[in-house]
Amino acid sequence: MPPSVIRASAKRPTRATPSERTLSYVDAIREATDQEMARDPSVLVFGLDVDDPKAIQGTTRGLLEKYGPSRVFGTPLSEDAMTGTAIGMALAGLRPIHVHIRMDFLMLAMNQLINVAAKSRYMYGGKVSIPLVVRSMIGKSWGQGAQHSQGLYSFFMHVPGLQVVAPTTPYDAKGCLIAAIRDDNPVLYVEHRILHFQNGPVPAHTYTVTPGRARITAVGQDVTLVGISQMQSECLKARLYLEEIGIQAEVIDPIWLSPLDIDTIVRSVEKTGRLLVVDNGWVCCGAAAEIIAQVAERLQGHCSFRMRRMGFAPVTCPTAPSLERLYYPDSRTIAAAARDLVEGTKTGWMPRERSELNSFIFKGPF
């Protein structure tokens, strides 16, 4: 469906027109939640500390005052039961948004997410549905370390009955959250702590970013870069490094990891013949592995292409900055890998650092 995908990309303004507002990713989430809560009294938001003074980095600020404590509340430290509770609310016709400040904490909610949320519609023969949104954040840098930095969305991509979205811009943060809230099935909404600081154009009205549609965020013909979550920003910067040496990279943001818009990626790879997928998680059995496998299944026999996965080093995330730098892909290592793919050999090239392309350094607090 090329036209629909192109329409999706055309929908996103490339630069802010004077009439358009700029909003942070945080405010985009807050506004989406606010607008949906105003529209639909069945929408509730809760989770540890959603009603505390910091209001989940500001994403839930003002909601308690506006909608009251029965619709906006902090919970006991009970990820398992509160996820089950959210499912029970959804069974009764509510549309809960359950918030976790780190994705790592979802490990305590796996039973309810995998065994109940994902399966109820199917195993009850379509008699029920679970309109549940689970927001969770991936942390990075400033000592987040082993248990505050994991990007575990591929666990959820594995399971039928769950949808997974990882918006990377304020525009998509708002549109995907509204789509997720209105969806009748569970959606895992993956945020990234670093992306929270992004600003970008966000229309004031409500709109949805449709599940299962990727976006081409930069056009090129030499190599396809698919960047997931925060790695999307790194890919866009890598593209600038590649430009210096005359390589035009096409960059794709899958946005929705499940359902996955493989068509858009396949079409790009047919054009470029090279595919580099940069994951915001480990490579083994990850989203990048799935994307490459699907592209290979589609193109085998009529289009040969070179491929590579990048992601976290296959170790536990360290805290010392010197080690952590080596743990994550960044714009320069991505550019280097892309060039090697294009040339089909290990060139050993590494772009000289440009300070204006340096990654945003998170300085805490959480």
Binding site: D80, A81, T85, A92, G125, G126
Partner: protein, 309 residues
Amino acid sequence: MLERLYRSLYRIRRLEEAFARVYPTDKIKSPIHLSIGQEAVSVGVCAALRLDDVVFGTYRGHALYLAKGGDMKAMAAELYGKATGCTRGKGGSMHLISTEVGMMGASAVVGTTIANAVGYAYALQYQGRDALVASFFGDGGSEEGVFAESLNFAALKCLPILFICENNGYAIHTSQERRQGRPDICARARAYGIPAERIEHNDVLYLFERTRTVAAKIRAGGGPHFFEVMTYRWREHVGPNNDFHLGYRTEDEATPWIEADQVTRLGAMLLPERREQIQEEVEAEVEAALVFAEESPEPEPAELYTDVL
């Protein structure tokens, strides 16, 4: 009311006995966790509930589904793996549901639905409805973390929910004493501020009366309440047979429970001709349900891919 209770008990007993009889033919394509001996718990509670009250249960859920008013034919067909089953052949014996009568589901993962029941109760409170939720689980379920977390939240929000722990003394083959440092489940409920009472002897009449009283309190905003109902599973943990030969429990232990059988007890309280009439009607109903299950078509292949999302 006696007749109603008796009919409900007898339907469950006879249908499950029929399942046990049919089981060796392999027509039932589902594990069966029979509630024979424990029917009184579901029956006593559900008889005191309204249609718009909601229950959540476990894989040992035949009794609960029927007691809440679930359709017997759809249940039998489900166990036979047929398209006319209550989940169209998707859930089987362990995931019975009947949303029309407020049977909102059952989990094969121990403890899981306790939290779902609490969430449903939150929604009822939020929506300002005066219905309540009854959450059924086993003594083993009370050991899962979700039990503690769920009770805490229910107490915190003063939710309209009745917790019913069906204590049959065992989790599979392991007795409660071998699993719990302090085998007092009510004490744990009280620790969260939830009034709790232990109901002895699987007594269906007492349980019915207590549920009526407690349900009225819950509806009036009194918050959660907890029953630990002492009961006994006669058959093996899963499957149609006895299991005394395994040695984890003795027939002597079972004897008093079987002597105090609530089906027999309630039957004896009815006039013989009324009892016999109910029995005849139930036998016909059970027979019809099995025929319906047998004659129903299997799900179409396309059904594999429906209702994923």
